[in-house]
C-alpha cells in the first residue's frame, strides 16, 4: 500500500505527533509491503527534511511556498490536493491535531473521498485495513472501513502510536528529498491569519507535578472545589480539571488537562467525577498510576484506571481526607 504521510510543523519546529503517525505508517507499510512518502509543508522548512529523511521511509516531499508560511485551510488544502494527485497514494495518514481537523475533511471532500478521523489504532485483516475509533465519547469503539476507490484519508489520535518506535534507516543513509512544486495564488486564500498568542501566563506547570488531583463535572459546583483542594494539599498535589470545569470558570484555564489543555504524566493521577471523554484521557493516560472515582460504573475513565471506586465522590473524598489526616505521609 502506497502511503502519503502528512507531517505538521510550525516555524520549522516539528509537531512531535507527526512521528507517532510515522510509526503507524511504518507498521502499515511493512504489513502491506508498501511504501511511505512523507510530506513536509510550509515555508523555509529545509532544516526539517534531513531528520525525516533519516527515518525508515521511501522519500520526503517538500512543499515550500511563501503562501504556506502561515497555516490557512485554503492554502493547505489546495497544496496538499496537488501532492495527493501527484503522488497517487492509496492511503493518506495525518496526526489528529487541531490544524489537521481544520483542513483534512475539506481536503477529503475536495477529492470526493472519505476521511476516518481520530483513530486510536488499526487492524490489517485478510488484506483489509480496519480503522478503530471511539464513539459515544469513548463509551463504545467502532471498526470503520473505507468504501470505494483510493485515496483514503485517516488521522490518528495523539498517543495512539509511540513516536520513539519510529524506525530510523538501518544503514545510516538518507531517503531522497524531493521538492514538490504547487500552484497557489494569493486570491485563492480567503482566510487572513494573524499572529499566534497566549492568553494567560502559565501560572502553574502541571507537567511538573508528581501528583494531580483532578476534578470533573461530578464536582457539581464551584463551592465544592474546596474539598478537592484539601485532598490535594494533604497529598502534596496540584489541582487540575477537565475542560467543562474550566469553561465554567470554577478553576482557571491553566489548570485544564486534555487535548486543549496540558498533557501530563504524573506518578499519581486522581480523577474525581471525571467521565473520561477522549479529549481528557489523551492528556493524562500516560500517568503511572490512575485512580478514578465516579458514580457511573460504565464511565470510560475506568478504562484507563488502575484503581477504581464506583461511588459518590462527596463520600469518598472526605473519607480519604480523614484517612490522610490520621496517618500523615
Amino acid at each position: 500500500m502506497k502511503i502519503l504521510l502528512i507531517t505538521e510543523q510550525r516555524d520549522a519546529k516539528w509537531n512531535k505527533v507527526s512521528f507517532e503517525t510515522l510509526t503507524a505508517a511504518q507498521q502499515i507499510a511493512q504489513q502491506t509491503s508498501g511504501s511511505i512518502s512523507a510530506v513536509v509543508i510550509g515555508k523555509n522548512i529545509a532544516v526539517l527534511t534531513q531528520e525525516l529523511a533519516a527515518s525508515q521511509l521511501d522519500e520526503v516531499l517538500v512543499i515550500d511556498h511563501p503562501l504556506l508560511e502561515n497555516y490557512t485551510p485554503d492554502g493547505f488544502t489546495i497544496a496538499l490536493r496537488q501532492a495527493i494527485e501527484a503522488a497517487k497514494p492509496d492511503l493518506v495518514l495525518m496526526p489528529h491535531t487541531y490544524e489537521v481537523r481544520d483542513f483534512a475533511p475539506k481536503l477529503a471532500a475536495s477529492l470526493g473521498k472519505g476521511m476516518i478521523g481520530d483513530c486510536i489504532g488499526y487492524r490489517y485483516e485478510n488484506g483489509k485495513l480496519i480503522f478503530v475509533r471511539q464513539m459515544f465519547q469513548g463509551r463504545t469503539v467502532a471498526d470503520v472501513v473505507f468504501e470505494g476507490a483510493a485515496p483514503w484519508l485517516a488521522t490518528f489520535q495523539a498517543g495512539a502510536f509511540r513516536a520513539d518506535l519510529a524506525a530510523a534507516r538501518t544503514d545510516g543513509s538518507k531517503a531522497p528529498v524531493k521538492a514538490l512544486a504547487v500552484e497557489l495564488k494569493p486570491e485563492q486564500i480567503r482566510t487572513k491569519p494573524g499572529e499566534l498568542f497566549r492568553e494567560a501566563k502559565q501560572a502553574v506547570d502541571l507537567t511538573q507535578a508528581p501528583i494531580l488531583v483532578s476534578v470533573g463535572r461530578g464536582i457539581k459546583g464551584p463551592e465544592n472545589i474546596a474539598i478537592a483542594q484539601k485532598l490535594a494539599s494533604l497529598l502534596g498535589a496540584e489541582l487540575s480539571a477537565s475542560r467543562p470545569i474550566c469553561d465554567e470558570g470554577w478553576l482557571p484555564m491553566d489548570r485544564q488537562i486534555g487535548s486543549s489543555g496540558q498533557t501530563v504524566a504524573p506518578k499519581l493521577y486522581l480523577a474525581l467525577g471525571i467521565s473520561g471523554a477522549i479529549q481528557h484521557v489523551v492528556g493524562m493516560k500516560g500517568s503511572r498510576t490512575i485512580v478514578a472515582v465516579n458514580k457511573d460504573a460504565n464511565a470510560p475513565i475506568f478504562e484507563v484506571a488502575d484503581y477504581g471506586v464506583v461511588g459518590d465522590l462527596f463520600e469518598i473524598v472526605p473519607a480519604l481526607i480523614e484517612e490522610l489526616e490520621k496517618s500523615p505521609r
Partner: protein, 256 residues
C-alpha cells in the same frame, strides 16, 4: 444577518448504552436523548449575533423524528424557525454523505453564517462544519472562541493547541465550528416555550434531495472497548475504601 445553526440530538450523558442487533449502532429504545452539548454553544452564539446585528436564526437538524425535540428546544430559546431533514437511519451515513445531504437542504437558504458545534457526542466525527463549507463553496474556521462581525467580514479568535490562540479574518458568508465554552448557553423561558409552539419547522425527507447513497466509509461494528488496563475496583464503606486505597497507593503502587 441570516444565521443557520446545525443542532443534533444525542443519547443523554447518563443513558445506559447497549449495542443494537445489527452491531453498527446503539439500541435507541428505552434511553433518553438530549441536545448535543457542543451544539448548544453554537446556538447561543447564533442567538447573540442576531441580538446584536438583527436578522434570523434557523435551527437545522437531520435524523429521525426525535430530532424535532432538539429543534423545538432551539425555537424555545429564541431561534426563529426550524429545518428538519428527516432520515430514520441517518447513523449509517458517513460524514461526507451527511454533509452532502445538509448542504443540499441548506443551499437555497443562502445563510450569511452557518454555525456548528465542535463535534457530536455520539459519532464524534467532528467534520460536518468543515465539509459543509467545502460543499457550499464557503470559507470556514473551526474551534472559534470569539466572533466579531465587521461589515462583510469577521474577526475570529481561534483556539489552537497547548494554550495558544490566533485571530483570523474571514469574509462572509462562511461556516464556523464553535468551541465549547465560548459562552454560557441560556435556558428556555416559559414565554419562549409558549412562543415556540407557533414557530415553523419545515420537514423534508432526506431522500428527496437525491444525494447519492454511495459511502466513502462504513462502520462495520461498534462494541464496548477492551480494557487497556486491569482496573482493581475497591469496594466497601467510604471509610473502608479510603483506607484500602491509601494502603494500596503506599505499598502496592508505591506512589505515596
Amino acid at each position: 444577518m441570516k444565521i443557520g445553526v446545525c443542532v443534533k440530538q444525542v443519547p443523554a450523558k447518563d443513558a445506559p448504552l447497549a449495542i443494537a442487533a445489527d452491531g453498527t449502532w446503539i439500541r435507541e429504545s428505552d434511553i433518553g436523548f438530549e441536545t448535543n452539548e457542543p451544539d448548544s454553544f453554537a446556538l447561543e452564539e447564533g442567538l447573540r449575533l442576531k441580538e446584536k446585528h438583527g436578522g434570523e436564526v434557523v435551527a437545522i437538524a437531520m435524523g429521525p423524528e426525535r430530532m424535532k425535540q432538539t429543534i423545538k428546544e432551539a425555537l424555545a430559546k429564541g431561534a426563529d424557525r426550524g429545518i428538519h431533514v428527516v432520515d430514520d437511519q441517518f447513523y449509517r451515513l458517513d460524514p461526507l454523505a451527511a454533509a452532502r445531504s445538509l448542504a443540499a437542504a441548506l443551499e437555497k437558504e443562502n445563510f450569511d453564517l452557518i454555525l456548528t458545534g465542535l463535534q457530536s457526542d455520539d459519532q464524534g466525527f467532528g467534520q460536518t462544519g468543515v465539509l459543509l463549507a467545502e460543499l457550499l463553496g464557503r470559507p470556514h474556521a473551526t474551534i472559534i472562541m470569539q466572533i466579531e462581525i465587521q461589515g462583510a467580514s469577521m474577526r475570529l479568535k481561534r483556539e489552537l493547541e497547548a494554550g495558544w490562540f490566533q485571530w483570523v479574518e474571514l469574509p462572509l458568508p462562511a461556516v464556523l465550528s464553535i468551541q465549547s465554552g465560548i459562552n454560557k448557553p441560556r435556558y428556555a423561558t416559559l414565554k419562549g416555550i409558549m412562543a415556540a409552539k407557533k414557530k415553523e419547522i419545515a420537514s423534508t425527507p432526506r431522500a428527496s434531495f437525491g444525494v447519492p447513497e454511495t459511502l466513502t466509509e462504513r462502520v462495520e461494528r461498534i462494541y464496548v472497548p477492551h480494557k487497556a488496563k486491569k482496573t482493581e475496583f475497591l469496594k466497601g464503606t467510604p471509610k473502608e475504601i479510603a483506607a484500602k486505597l491509601i494502603e494500596k497507593l503506599k505499598h502496592e503502587a508505591r506512589v505515596l
